[in-house]
Amino acid sequence: MTTMTEETQVPETATVTVKHESIGQRVVNLLASFGLTITILLFLMVLTFFGTIEQTDTNLHDIRTKFFDSFFFTTDTIPFLPLPGGALLLTLLAVNLFVGGLLRLRRTPSRVGIFIIHIGIAWLLLSGLVEFVFGVKGYVQIFEGESASRFLSHNEWQVTIAHQTADGKERAFVIPPEKLPEPGSTTKFTAEGLPFAVELRGYLRNCRVNAAGHGTGMDGYTFKRLDDAEEPQNNRPGVTAKLIEPGGVTREAMLHSMAEPYVTRMAGQRWALTIERQSWELPFTLKLRKFHKEEHPRTNVPSRFASDVTRTEDNVDHDIHISMNEPMRYAGYTFYQSGWGPQNVPRGTPIKRYFSVFSVGKNPADRGPLYACIVIACGLVYHFIRKLRLHLRSENRRRA
């Protein structure tokens, strides 16, 4: 039954069977095939569906790690079957798009639109990759009248070992988040200029310090493991650190994110150890002059919140207004108005000083998605309008 024109149409990317094709050729054919595209897209649907449904029980940070940043994942529904994760699928999609949608796409006028669309999608994927590899995200909280020149990570923590050098400057050794030990394991660190080794063990993502009773724990205290907070940025981690001097002198300390730094004397110097949020230095200082908050009259629904800030760089001040949908972009950094406080104050209670919370992002591909969107839209519109015109012509012929 071949009454419809589309039923006789040749597939656009020709996957014509060639006899005696080499293994390499077969692999290229597979990577360029519609079959692979459809399979990837279907698995992406499965991934997205489970990654959405499981958000009712799991926080978004863990969902991202489990589903979208992974190569494989399993679900509670089918725990025995590993399914391809976001990292694997997006990699395959990029390869498939590059080979099938760009390299092997026939260069005919009818394919111009499709080629443009694929360029746009490739651009979008590339922007995502650049952000994933080089992007940094965090936040900064500033009270009215105060300044900040660092921003902090939402979820990542580091151990910092600091001391004052002879010239009065602070020198810090940092154990970055990715090197903190997995729960139950121990990791040892040494560094040039650090006169002792640091052994970290018993790292807990969310815990509190509990009295352990006489003769147990460390000085009668121990960490009590807690369930992860609903919002991962509210986790309070802890880790046990052992400082080992080559001479055999050791010190042991419990570092907790809510506790004061542990201060000790090793190798004739005072050292301070702390577990703190990962942070990054800004090339300028930001001062919050005034925070503005408005609500729809006689409701608690915010209608607008914004901050008047002063950016200072090389002793030059710039006054800037940051509000919802109007971020500040400067020197590769973007500052977004994301929150404020103090909140949950009873109605009518005067607030002496507000603070403003800015999300801070450094993403070399910040504008990539926008440009990709424009390219894709142009390609789609061109291709489908062309198709529509052809269809209208054939309809007119039919009616004539």
Binding site: M1, T3, M4, E6, E7, P11, T13, T15, S33, F34, G35, T37, I38, L41, L44, M45, T48, F49, G51, T52, Q55, T56, L60, R64, F68, L124, S127, G128, K137, E294, H296, P297, R298, T299, V301, P302, S303, R304, M324, N325, E326, P327, Y336, S338, S359, V360, G361, P369, L370, A372, C373, I376, A377, L380, F384, K387, L388, H391, E395, R399
Partner: protein, 646 residues
């Protein structure tokens, strides 16, 4: 003749009904009932009164309409004496005659278990029944106590009883804020003898008290010795009486601040009095408005006096609102609700569908086709007119909440179906347009009735941007519309094939329509989804956060890409495209509504269990149609080789 028999039967039924009515009339309860005839002018003045409610200025008629909907679950009520009450009439009944209104049964309780919990016993009631405020009153204290306890529980986590209690508490609260408002204007306050000289009278209205207050303060300061102990005690009792009267006058915020005031918040009668007794000057316009309320309440049985007082109050409120530039859209909103363009369009679409159906029965009558095109086109125009009115009222594109997305998507679906008809002229688009118009506007109507909330609510800060609403949200909703239309056409294809109706030419044309509509939808879905990411990057600092709503949009793009690539790869043809389009409806349903039910993410809006039920029914229908198609394919068109396309 059968007709004659029917006529006699009808006459007999009418007579029986008349006798029954008369019999009921004889045994009628002699309790006074509400059958006030409010003059047209009074109703118009009351309707166009500006009021600040839920963060915006709106006409009183809007407040009355939604209050009535929340309490009565309908926008009309039949009183015990058979009189039909529209929202403004009902509002004035409750406002000025609370003693009579409290006996009218307009509170809908959907589960009598609620009353059992509240220890209220009313004999002869069904599980779902109507109650008067007087019947509920004994349990109101406990009702609010429980609602206070259950309120903080997330809507999706409440059990049925808890939900019903919160709903009933909201209804009772809405009633009380109207019915108890004028308690202060019921009668003048009695002055005790030690105060007679001070005020120069034996009783005093609240408005007069406020007027006299500065003079009284001046007098007592002038005398040097202040008030005598007796007068002080009497004044203290008077203050308590005033406080008791005013405490219920906090529900309606219709005193615009006087000229020169920069605050955004309007005031209640309570606020005006509180301001005066704490030593602040009261605007003369506010005193006049209070006097008008007192006149209205005290002369409530005299329609002319009520009308005069209403006119006075209206003038005071409107003049102040105009001075602040906050009255511009009040009358337009009254006009919009009076027009009720979407509900009326629904009926015009229905008429259009009937005409289209007639063209199928009588294909040789060409004028029928023309008439149906005119009616469906007219319905779309009226529907669009409603959307334009909303745009003017909100000064935004009509896509800022779920209700608006329904009416907007319906308009797009109908418009695209008519464009398809223009292209193909086989009657498919013409048939689909009014049918989908009816379904869409019916869903919108039911949604409004279920939510019982103002559909023109103010936006939260992040949504307060016309640029992104006009680009991202509009594009996404047009994408939904295209996908849903393709799914609907897919239904026709699959069911038609399964029941072997229609020619091959018909299916050829229909298949192309489904595919073309998916392509149309894909353009908007892709662009809308990426623009959403760009907006998120501007507002929240990340392009993509795997938020449920974002994932829903991505799912739509993915299913449409699967469909297009499967067709290009030769895996599916018209039948397969239609089947995928039907499954696509489930994806769109999940993205549009389902993700909200999850109650997580940045885009989570209020959701009720009845909406979840409706969504489940929608999914079931789509699965059923898909299953019919699958069975048909398996039995009839499955080709001998497994690798061939379907």
């Amino acid at each position: 003749m059968p007709w004659n028999k029917l006529s006699w039967l009808a006459l007999a039924l009418v007579c029986a009904a008349l006798i029954a009515t008369t019999a009921r009339g004889e045994a009628k309860d002699v309790t006074p009932t509400l059958h006030r005839t409010w003059s047209k002018e009074t109703l118009k003045l009351a309707s166009t009164l500006p009021i600040q409610d839920r963060g915006r200025i709106k006409p009183m008629s809007t407040v009355a309409g939604y209050a009535m909907l929340g309490i009565n679950h309908k926008r009309t009520h039949i009183n015990a004496d058979g009189a039909k009450r529209e929202p403004m009439q009902w509002f004035l009944d409750c406002w000025l005659f609370p003693d009579l209104a409290e006996r009218e049964k307009f509170f809908v309780v959907t589960d009598s278990a609620v009353l059992k919990t509240l220890e209220i016993e009313v004999a002869g009631k069904k599980k779902r029944d109507r109650y008067s405020y007087a019947e509920l009153r004994p349990g109101v204290g406990k009702l609010f106590e429980l609602a206070h306890e259950y309120g903080p529980i997330k809507e999706k986590d409440r059990d049925r009883l808890q939900s019903q209690i919160v709903i009933l508490a909201n209804a009772v609260h809405a009633y009380e804020r109207i019915a108890h408002y004028l308690a202060f204007a019921h009668a003048p306050m009695q002055l005790e003898p030690p105060l007679h000289g001070l005020f120069g009278k034996k009783s005093i209205w609240v408005s007069d008290f406020l007027t006299a207050l500065p003079e009284v303060a001046r007098k007592t300061q002038k005398s040097g010795s202040g008030l005598s102990p007796d007068a002080q005690a009497a004044f203290s009792r008077l203050s308590r009486d005033l406080e008791r009267r005013m405490v219920s006058a906090r529900g309606l915020v219709f005193f615009p601040p006087p000229a020169g005031s920069t605050g955004k918040e309007w005031m209640t009668a309570f606020d005006v009095v509180e301001l005066a007794v704490t030593g602040f000057p009261v605007a003369p316009a506010h005193i006049k408005m209070l006097q008008a309320l007192e006149k209205m309440r005290s002369a409530r049985t005299d329609p002319a006096a009520v009308n005069a007082a209403m006119r006075e109050f209206h003038k005071g409120a409107v003049d102040l609102a105009k001075e602040r530039g906050e009255y511009d859209k009040v009358e337009l909103e009254v006009f919009y609700y009076k027009q009720d363009p979407f509900y009326r369009s629904l009926y015009v679409y229905l008429l259009g569908f009937i005409l289209v159906a007639l063209t199928w029965l009588l294909p040789h009558v060409r004028r029928l086709r023309l008439a149906s095109i005119i009616v469906v086109g007219g319905a779309l125009l009226y529907h669009t007119y409603g959307l334009v009115l909303r745009c003017i009222l909100r000064s935004r594109p009509p896509v800022s909440n779920l209700y608006e997305t329904i009416i907007f998507i319906t308009a797009i679906v109908v418009a695209v179906a008519l464009v398809l008809e223009y292209i193909n002229r086989r009657g498919i688009g013409l048939g689909a347009a009014p049918a989908l118009g009816v379904i869409g506007l019916f869903v919108a109507h039911k949604f409004e009735l279920t939510k019982k909330e103002d559909t023109i609510a103010p936006l939260i800060a992040v949504l307060d941007t016309n640029f992104w609403l006009a680009t991202h949200v509009t594009a996404i909703t047009i994408g939904y519309a295209g996908g849903l239309l393709a799914g609907a056409l897919g239904h026709i294809y699959v069911i038609g094939r399964a029941f072997k109706k229609g020619s091959e030419k018909f299916y050829s044309s229909l298949g192309r329509m489904v595919y073309g509509t998916i392509c149309f939808s894909l353009i908007f879905s892709v662009v809308g989804t990426i623009l959403g990411g760009v907006w998120a990057n501007e507002s929240w600092g990340r392009f993509w956060g795997w938020d449920p709503k974002e994932n829903g949009a991505l799912l739509i793009v993915l299913y449409q890409l699967v469909l297009i690539h499967a067709r290009l790869g030769g895996y599916i043809k018209s039948f397969g495209i239609s089947m995928v389009a039907i499954l696509g409806n489930i994806v769109i349903g999940f993205s549009w509504w389902g993700v909200n039910a999850l109650g997580v993410g940045l885009h989570s809006y209020g959701f009720t269990s009845s909406i979840s039920r409706a969504l489940a029914i929608f999914y079931a229908v789509e699965v059923l149609v898909f299953s019919i198609g699958a069975v048909y394919w398996f039995l009839n068109t499955r080709p001998p080789r497994a690798t061939s396309a379907f």
